[in-house]
Symmetry: C2
Subunit: 622 residues, 2 copies
């Protein structure tokens, strides 16, 4: 924090204690009052001078008179002067309204909380640099500290820049124009700042213009902000002005860091205040800010940067990483058998859902070239550890019904981690014991029976049961109005038709190949047969955006994106469960839900699904 002007760090302010939850004390707080403030009855009963009870015993009961040598007192009330102990009401035998006997003496200060028993006025209740908890609020008020000095919240100005950006609020009743991008990075950073204890203020969106960005930054430095963050424009492109502006106005300390995502990070100082240029890709913006921005805010508050809890896990896959930079992978976590398994999500720094879907962050240090499959790694948790225990790992073929299933399961406290790697990939995950359940729709070309022959071939040593999921319509997805007039498989080899395929091992691809063979079509004649997508929706997107003319997938995907659909087959989509997982309560609940009316109604409404036999255990064919 070289050359930062610490005297400009946020000072302190006095606030009412009742509003101080989660604020940071700037000074120690001393008790103004002792607790208790008087000798207090700790029980309901009679206050007495203990020596007046000496000699009482079962054989020598001793009588006391209310108002003369005993006074009724309730818990929490002062004992009268001249008394020093309380006889519990339960130990009293009344003789009449005004007198009673006891069979046991009390010792001085028995059943009495003495003045200052908890703390004494002038004692320190809280040290400085302490985050105030609900308990602390109780203790402060108890000690008569109705106000408390806390560190003023650091105020951070976030300047979103980019001529392509539009504000989210402008979108409430419209869709973006072609090329417009919704500005959300600064809203995301605001949430991180707020959770750390700062206040984020977002400026208007500034276009990619040197002078305008400079003006916004200057205004922030001159106002009462403690730090300014310029989001995007931190790289070295023709419209990346942040570095030049910071250089002109102040000093750059760092430009570019050996981490990924987050490399194009700028740290500088302008007018004694920290300034940060943060990258435009959302995942880069997050990691850059979490590593470099939040610690500055913590420093201003005078508290340690909060560290995430970690958990040991086995890597479900080999993960490669480049030497010389620290790499941050977002991972899904699940407990399969006794092992916690970490599966990396896609790397793309533009993919915000890799953060929202992640259960944890896996850092691969700059001196490592990656991680072997099955290696033990430490993962920083984004959720409660219990959530990992409560996560059902489903790997295999993609279907839109999995999202509905996940949404029903979460109502029962079960989280679903689903990876779309195709039917075959699901079977291999069961083999490697990295999933509880695989989803599959692999058609045996010989027998016309789904899944069983593949299970036999790929999982010879894993005893499984197969539960029916859904029947679903597969077909061609084409643009609205079917402009190229696609009717059947013969159309796929036309010169003016580009196809988009699914990846090898996907059930849909197996189905396609089955029909091509049946129709005597040479796959190599199909333009785009090698263009692979991993999900039904991405095939639909390829068609919608004109990358391809036609692709194969389920009705629900076509319908969701407003594509036309030409049905070609009805197929069977199943859940494959290793027998050893059948007792897992999460699996049991999933199978229950498959049979439930609420789930079936929900799936039926998607269109193109048959749910009559959902959840049925299938009998292995002879």
């Amino acid at each position: 924090m070289r050359r930062l002007d610490r005297s400009s760090f946020p000072g302190s302010e006095r606030i009412p204690t009742v509003e101080s939850l989660d604020r940071i004390t700037s000074d120690p707080v001393y008790a103004r009052l002792s607790s208790p403030g008087f000798h207090m009855a700790a029980m309901d009963g009679f206050a007495v001078e203990a020596s007046n009870t000496f000699g009482a015993g079962p054989d020598s009961p001793l009588s006391l008179t209310v108002g003369r040598n005993a006074w009724a007192v309730n818990t929490g009330r002062p004992i009268p002067g001249g008394t020093n102990s309380v006889i519990m009401i339960e130990h009293v035998n009344f003789l009449d309204d005004d007198s009673f006997e006891i069979e046991k003496a009390v010792v001085p200060w028995q059943n009495v909380r003495r003045v200052g028993e908890d703390f004494v006025r002038s004692e320190m209740i809280l040290a400085s640099h302490h985050r105030i908890t609900p308990y602390d609020i109780g203790a402060l008020l108890c000690g008569g500290a109705t106000g408390v000095n806390v560190v003023r919240k650091p105020k951070i100005l976030l300047i979103p820049t980019g001529s392509e950006l539009i504000s989210a609020s402008s979108l409430e009743n419209s869709v973006p124009k072609h090329g417009d991008t919704i500005e959300f990075n600064t809203h995301l950073l605001s949430g991180l700042i707020s959770r750390t204890g700062g206040i984020a203020v977002r400026s208007e969106i500034v276009p990619d213009d040197y002078e305008q960005i400079k003006q916004a930054l200057t205004a922030g430095i001159e106002a009462d902000y403690d730090m300014v963050v310029v989001n995007a424009g931190s790289s070295a492109g023709t419209e990346d002005y942040t570095a030049a502006i910071i250089s002109e106005l102040g000093e750059i300390l760092v430009h570019g860091v050996a981490m990924m995502p987050g490399k194009p990070t700028i740290l500088g100082i302008v007018g004694g205040k920290p300034v940060m240029g943060s990258p435009g890709y959302p995942v880069s913006a997050v990691f850059s800010f979490e590593i470099f921005g939040l610690p500055v805010i913590a420093e201003m508050l005078g508290v340690p940067s909060s560290a995430r809890q970690t958990m040991a896990a086995y890597s479900a896959r080999k993960i490669s990483s480049k030497l010389g930079r620290e790499e941050f992978f977002r991972v899904k976590l699940g407990k399969v058998g006794e092992r916690i398994v970490a599966a990396p999500l896609p790397r793309g720094a533009g993919s915000i859902t890799t953060l929202t879907r992640a259960d944890g962050i896996l850092r691969i240090p700059s001196n490592a070239e990656g991680i072997e499959q099955g290696a033990m790694v430490q993962v920083e948790l984004l959720n409660q550890p219990q959530q990992v225990e409560d996560t059902l790992v489903i790997i295999g073929s993609h279907d839109l019904t999995i999202d509905c299933l996940a949404d029903e399961l979460v109502k029962h406290g079960i989280y679903v981690s689903s990876s779309h790697v195709g039917s075959l990939g699901g079977l291999l995950a069961l083999r490697d014991d990295t999933a509880h359940i695989a989803t599959s729709h692999l058609l045996d070309e010989e027998s016309g029976i789904y899944n069983w022959s593949y299970v036999k071939k790929f999982l010879p040593e894993v005893p499984v049961e197969i539960f029916h999921g859904v029947m679903r319509e597969q077909g061609f997805m084409v643009k609205k109005g079917n402009p190229k007039g696609i009717k059947d498989f013969q159309d796929l080899v036309r010169d003016d038709v580009t196809f988009v395929n699914r990846q090898k091992g996907a059930g849909t691809r197996v189905l396609l190949d089955y029909y091509l063979k049946k129709s005597g079509i040479d796959a190599s004649k199909i333009k785009g047969y090698d263009m692979e997508e991993y999900t039904h929706t991405s095939v639909a997107v390829a068609v919608l955006s004109g990358v391809a003319v036609v692709g194969m997938g389920v009705l629900a995907a076509a319908r969701a994106l407003g594509l036309d659909f030409i049905p070609v087959a009805t197929e069977q989509y199943d859940f494959i469960v290793p027998r050893k997982n059948l007792g897992d309560w999460k699996v049991v609940k999933l199978l229950d839900i498959l049979k439930s009316q609420i789930y079936r109604d929900r799936i039926s409404s998607l269109g193109g699904y048959g749910v009559e036999r959902s959840g049925e255990r299938l009998v292995e064919p002879k």
Copy 2:
């Protein structure tokens, strides 16, 4: 949750996404827009149709013309129609302003983020029952979801009852009258509710009056609260009305639970709404509400109750517990050597500081009779685990300077856990390896030298260094004006004088005994010689509140409580550090601070301390 009217649970409300941090989704959220919404350049460079670059190589450079078959594009912008890849600007050799050469072809979709690469409109972005994170806000806005349906925050009415209670706000410029108690339980519970995601509303304080409490409860049930909590009056005393009122208005499900603290908890239902009677002692109120109240709020929100992280630790002491009830101990945690050590704080349910000082909660189940010293236990953490690593454990003699030291150390990220068990107790803690440092002022009656002979006797196998702490004045503490005219040790045996002593093993007691012997006084003649207190301040309180006429302690304690002070001796208070702990950075920092001017100035201002040699390593006497 039998007989609770779930239909009266808080419904949902629609709020702007930008204000949704930490709220709980009531419905799944689907993308209104795909991300990206168009084929987007992933690099700065030139958009081209990939096939136009085929054949380019180091030996066969290929030239392209800007505006004809190549178009400049920046990261994040749409690529023009008819193009499907981007040549990075770094791979371009300009021939003139309008044309350039490349030495490498691009493949279709290289350096392009395709429409829907992250997610596609209609895909589920968040499931229901999900706590919205900063990342989620980014993803929601990215998907065009500018509003989100969330569970309405459960609204909890807290009714503080008790005729002895005064509001904290009434105290801002005054002190409580004798017998008044500051109401803080409901402020504390408010903080717990707020952290769980509910809204707490506190009613006015209601006196102990059946009709008035009934009226407050009825009003709460009839208003739009989701739950009502009556604080205090849940036991069975003459002014404990909660149970009777709930019975009259509705139904009691539970009265009294097998836990400690927290036993007098009432759970009931009135008008279909959950009602809780919670105990008056603050620690009881906390545990009762954390165990029974917060889970109801979590249930209303549709999220699992949050569980605290746990940590394995060794019990520093034997802890006894009663069979048949679950007992909750507040513990201090510290890492001494390689072991995490848990030391229980006092049990008193009236002592709010046992919660604020605690690092964790140790539950002893109802079927256990306690825990042996050294046994391994699981502790629920109240702080970050890192804080345990950064905690310096100081056990031994009490001195007010320890609080100042703690407040200086926290500025360096070091937390102090101090237990006041007397000088000898500190030495025994070093022997048991449950403390980093012991504090001691044990005078050798023969040699007149402090500490060394005791270290030799009690720590024969622990090599230590002794660092000087402070010189301090010990003396008699008496009420303002010294009404009994105490002058010297002879006065202690007077008939009209009651003394308050320190516990066995305390340095102050050793000092007293030394002077009594020197003066030829028989200790058994002193009234109150057996009345033991554990700290200087509690001795001072005993004097202030009239429990005793005189006690012995340091000037700072007398001054803090406005007592008169008759000096009798100057003594030496030291820090004893096992050699193996000398390399610990926390110990190093403590020794640094002892020598610092800022610390010495602070201590001097307390009065009665000599700091000239603070931090000096003492040489073992021959």
